[in-house]
Assembly symmetry: C2
Homo-oligomer: 347 residues x 2
């Protein structure tokens, strides 16, 4: 049998994701929290986890977890949907609402998975470039939604990789003007403190994504969630695989919600400001509301190597709308000191 001829036409051009296994000492390329869950807490959680029956399927309805997120956010459980990472929620959204050929609108540059998952699920992606200040062109977005009867607008808030929050007024204008879903991906909310959560009740077309991967240092365990109108949650539940969230991740997330992450967040934000103060003196860059900084190295082709020579992984964009720029994750104070030394010498 000719396997390749059986592959769905729309995905033949897609490349499998390359994890880019660089063996560096300092990982500043994936916007992870540089601080793990404190060892004492992790030990206590894993000890308590012995009571989880490994032989039984997880709670398919994630009842306890949703109750705890509900309490944490002050939002009803019927408005909460949990995914195996936000990636999975983006996928379920597409599967629920996108008919073959429906359009999905994304600004560019932004988080790549909106486009990739859209293509996998039969969407036609319309990419609208950010303006010179890396803000959205809300008029172009509204026009494109109306013209193509788009199903989704995806906006990362703050945006990845640029790190800034788009103008609140422009986003509100979009939400109020369009008859389609506006997904605000607030993965980095804990570093920006800005959210559209308060607008959910008035706007049925608003969907908010959050994650445990960043502030809660839980990237390893894959846990994202969506807050949306109950009808949206109910619709997306139609396509959810019943046991999408494993028991251990459910358990750890509930335990971590009790942990106070304020200190860790304060350190990261303080470090980001310190790093930005240096960067803006020497480089074209964007002020950040996240845990990473977007900047333009003088010699992009060499930047990766210069950092890797110090065993630091960073993300340098060599193609696409962010080509020639790089994204630096804020690390620990010691890591950031190394980074500042490199940036001072010039990259």
């Amino acid at each position: 049998m000719d396997i390749l001829s059986k592959v769905k036409k729309s995905i033949r051009g897609l490349k499998a994701y390359d994890p880019g296994l660089t063996q560096t000492k300092y990982k500043l390329d994936a916007n992870e929290n540089p601080y793990d869950v404190p060892a004492v807490l992790k030990k206590a959680i894993l000890k308590k986890a012995q009571r989880i029956p490994f032989n039984r399927y997880p709670d398919a309805a994630t009842v306890t977890l949703k109750k705890n997120i509900s309490k944490y956010l002050g939002v009803k459980t019927e408005n909460i949907f949990v995914g195996n990472g936000s990636d999975e929620i983006i996928e379920y959204l597409m599967q629920t609402f996108v008919e073959q050929g429906d359009t999905v609108i994304v600004p560019t540059p932004t988080f790549e998975m909106y486009r990739i998952i859209g293509v996998i699920n039969g969407a036609k992606i319309i990419e609208l470039p950010l303006d010179k200040k890396f803000d959205i062109d809300e008029k172009a977005i509204i026009t494109a939604v109306k013209k193509t009867k788009a199903k989704f607008v995806f906006l990362a808030y703050p945006n990845n990789p640029t790190g800034n929050c788009f103008s609140e007024n422009k986003i509100m204008k979009i939400i109020e003007s369009v008859d389609c879903f506006v997904v605000l991906d607030e993965a980095y909310y804990d570093f920006s403190g800005r959210s559209f959560l308060k607008c959910l009740k008035r706007h049925k077309n608003l969907i908010i994504l959050r994650t445990f991967s960043k502030a809660f240092s839980m990237a390893a365990l894959r846990m994202g969630y969506m807050i949306a109108d109950r009808e949206t949650v109910a619709a997306v539940n139609k396509v959810r695989l019943p046991y999408n969230i494993n028991s251990l991740s459910q358990f750890v997330a509930v335990e971590l919600l009790k942990a106070d992450r304020t200190k860790v967040l304060e350190i990261i934000i303080k470090e980001r400001k310190k790093l930005y103060a240096l960067i803006k003196e020497k480089y074209e860059c964007v002020d950040s509301n996240a845990n990473f900084i977007f900047l333009k190295p003088k010699t992009p082709s060499k930047a990766q190597k210069v950092f890797e020579a110090q065993s630091i992984s960073v993300r340098v964009f060599t193609a696409g709308p962010a080509a020639g720029w790089m994204r630096l994750t804020v690390g620990t104070p010691a890591e950031n000191k190394l980074v500042r030394q490199i940036l001072k010498r010039g990259v």
Copy 2:
């Protein structure tokens, strides 16, 4: 915005999966292994798991896990694909190969997720009934594949919920006759000892699914895997979400592969035989190669209640091709004793 009008037409009729939260003492409704991972081993694994950095994303390529599965099976890593449960692999297969309206062929009754996941991903499902001996009608399947240019035939081996292994010759005939993928879901392989793994090299259209949920008592942690031609694996990797398998599940699976499950499997199989010996005397039923038994209660409408009165959950089918039948998971010897007492009194 009218949310319901935005839902993709093909899934509007789907119902969200209902976990059916019955608060019984004995769970014999989900084909789980009645034995958890031994407490000492679980404790040791969770202690060792403290070294996993929770703040870092999982290994997207699941390198160590695939190496260990490779060694365990004697199959190359390039032929292995790991999923967040077999459900996710079924979904990825559909996403990779099924164009809108392509047909997928399933015998019936069988594992419901083939149909549900197919519908979600735009497939047209053709259900072909099993014969009176609960075996497949291979001629009907081959004809249907050719007539509709089907993309997949899904066969559970042993079949769920009937518990029997379909005729090996008939399956081989299908594999050799069709120009489409034949997916053999060997989730219950460890209870049957029968596999098509040895046929993989000669048949590029063969795909085998296995799981850690049953023999390895790892249902809670969601871990299924596929063994297939390297081109199939490469194609499916195009649609895989990069971090689909969390770090803890990867870690636990590697540790559990070292554990000897022979004793546990022997007990379950011995118990199944003992249970079947009683059932076949009193009920219409199917001899089982799995860890569950399919039988026809005398009064199906009451069967559920009779078991629940003893705090036992069982699966009674009230609609569809298995209507009027029930599926009983083999439990611990003590649980099975209770079950036998009920069956002796009559249900």
